[in-house]
């Protein structure tokens, strides 16, 4: 049964492309007023999951509810209460900001006052500019404005900050937090851990079409059982087990010649590491220590970095 407060209920959604299963039985719930983050490496199935929820792809199995509307049976009602910003969209480039908002507004029974929405999205100066001439950040804010034009309950944002400079990303964060304050429910995907940490109340980590973790950012980091991370690179590959034997190491990850060790006792582990290295005559390069972050959680769980080069 659905909980009273839950705004989105996802029940074992499955999406296949031919023999390939892009999303394999994903189940989760999003509470009203929550900012919910979907994280995962490239191809994890984030976009596919999101687009099933907004009715752009048909799930093979499972179902989902937005509010009380079934995405399979009441799509038109679902569309009325959700706003979407897709990962890859272009808009009519020859229209102006104002014109396209007016047009999208007309697709719904009622819409917000366009001028206010433009002010909210910090596009006031670009009101009469053609979409073609907008910068990346401005285009992204316009895409979000289009998602908000009919004042939906739930907003889906697929990688809203990818490709933006730090300044523009922060502007977008402010917008998302402002929407949260207004009581909107937001589902977003991102590749940036700091962003997920700042924005999201809860985070779902996806990998290869499955949900592998779901919790608050703090709990996810705590569950790593490692306060610190020690990273370095070596000139020739060393068996992972060797590193796990270093004193105090709770977890060890290595990808080719890059090694990350996690530990609750930084001093102990560092001393032991240096010792091991000199005994075996291994040169440690770029030795760094830091506090463990979501990024570490992610790397540890998926064995992959978020943004694969």
């Amino acid at each position: 049964m659905k909980q009273a407060e839950s705004m989105i209920t996802v029940d074992s959604l499955v999406k296949r492309y031919g023999n390939f299963t892009a999303v394999n039985g994903v189940t989760f719930q999003v509470q009203k007023g929550e900012v919910f983050g979907l994280l995962g490496p490239n191809g994890a199935g984030k976009t596919t999951t999101l687009e099933m929820l907004v009715g752009l792809r048909k799930p093979e199995e499972g179902t989902a509810f937005i509010g009380s509307f079934n995405i399979r049976k009441e799509l038109q009602k679902v569309k009325e209460v959700i706003g979407v910003q897709l990962q890859s969209t272009t808009l009519f480039e020859l229209l102006t900001v104002e014109e396209i908002l007016q047009m999208y507004g007309s697709f719904y029974p009622k819409h917000l006052p366009i001028a206010e929405l433009i002010d909210d999205m910090i596009l006031t100066e670009k009101r009469k500019s053609r979409i073609k001439s907008l910068s990346g950040g401005q285009k992204q804010r316009l895409a979000i404005a289009l998602a908000l034009v009919h004042d939906p309950w739930v907003i889906f944002l697929d990688e809203p900050t990818t490709g933006l400079d730090p300044q523009a990303r922060r502007t977008l964060w402010d917008i998302v937090l402002k929407l949260k304050k207004r009581g909107k429910t937001i589902v977003l995907t991102t590749h940036y851990m700091d962003e997920a940490h700042v924005l999201c109340d809860r985070i779902a980590i996806m990998d290869r079409g499955e949900l592998i973790a779901l919790d608050t950012p703090e709990t996810l980091v705590r569950n790593l059982h490692a306060a610190s991370a020690i990273s370095f690179s070596v000139s020739s590959e060393v068996d992972l087990n060797e590193w796990a034997k270093v004193e105090g190491v709770t977890k060890a990850d290595c990808k080719e010649k890059e090694v990350v060790l996690y530990s609750d006792d930084l001093q102990l582990t560092l001393t032991s590491l240096i010792q091991t290295a000199s005994e075996r005559q291994i040169a440690l390069e770029d030795l760094q220590t830091r506090t463990a972050t979501l990024e570490d959680v992610f790397i540890h769980m998926t064995g992959r970095s978020l943004r694969e080069e």
């Binding site: 752009l56 897709l86 890859s88 808009l91 009519f92 020859l94 229209l95 047009m103 007309s106 719904y108």
Partner: protein
Amino acid sequence: MKAYWQLTLAQLRIFIRNKQVLFWTLAFPIFLMVVLGFTLGKGGGISVTVGVVDADKSPQSHELLSLLKKNKALSFEAKNTKEQAISSLKQGDLQIVLQIPKGYEERIKQKGAGSPFALPVYYDETNLTVSQVGQQLVNNAIDTISKKQTKYKPSVVIQPEGIESLHLSYIDFLVPGIVAMMILNNNMNGVAGQIASWRERGILRRMQGTMLKAHTFIAAQITARLVLNGLQALIVLGVARMVFGVAIRGSWLSVIAFVILGTLAFMAIGFIIAGIAKTPESAAPIAGFLSFPMLFLGGVFFPIKDMPDFLQPIIKLLPISHLSTALRETMNVGVSFASLGMEALILAGWLIIAFVIASITFKWE
């Protein structure tokens, strides 16, 4: 309804702001018209010689002949026997033979009693365009007579002056063809290219995420394109009139009706192509593959009758043949919409079938 207007408006804005496309879709037909018009336009007028076999030799038959002779586009040759006339027709000296049989006057005087009197007209089937023009002229004159005889109101009588100025040259033939070509290009090729590229770029997909319905979107596309095509056709006709003095002899309404029918039919075909084409890059060649033969076979630049016999059955099925014929008959000869029913029907048939297929194959993504 709001969405429909907004989308129509948006599409018109996009048309107007896309200066290059706007320019070339207009410049190309006008350029073609001017070049072909000046190089080929003056010579090769159509002349129609009518052979008359007057077996009645009554005052009534003389009246008919004198009325026909008022028409300067026609020249006449009296022949003594039908056989003589037919053999000249076969040699190409005559385009039409009109036979006034014995008893014509008596029948006319019975004033509408019984079935209408049929005047036999013979024509050369291999030279359809010319003989059709001729037939139409003869018909008009005969109409005048029969209406006078049955005391119709004079307002219905076809004005002989309109017919007198008929001297058709290649440019007269060309202009309706150019308008037909423009309709074909802008709609079939235009829709196919635009929709396919919008789909590729995810523009349609984003709209699918809203409450917008596919039929609203399609209806707005149609409206915007009708407005644009109507204006473009007007401009081309205006240039044709100013530069070459090409006039519309038939009714404007009829021209507009065929412009609309043609636009709808070719747009529907364009939607099908957009549905079939996997990428925008493949939409253009597919549209080109279909439009190129149509332009050459369908009576745009060359008369349909000049096409090889074995192609005629195919040509008769092409929508462009009927559009160019209908526009030509209306503009050059002044044929009424009612007598172009066949053309209208076939275009409507294309329109309906294509729209059914298009709505089945239409995909947002």
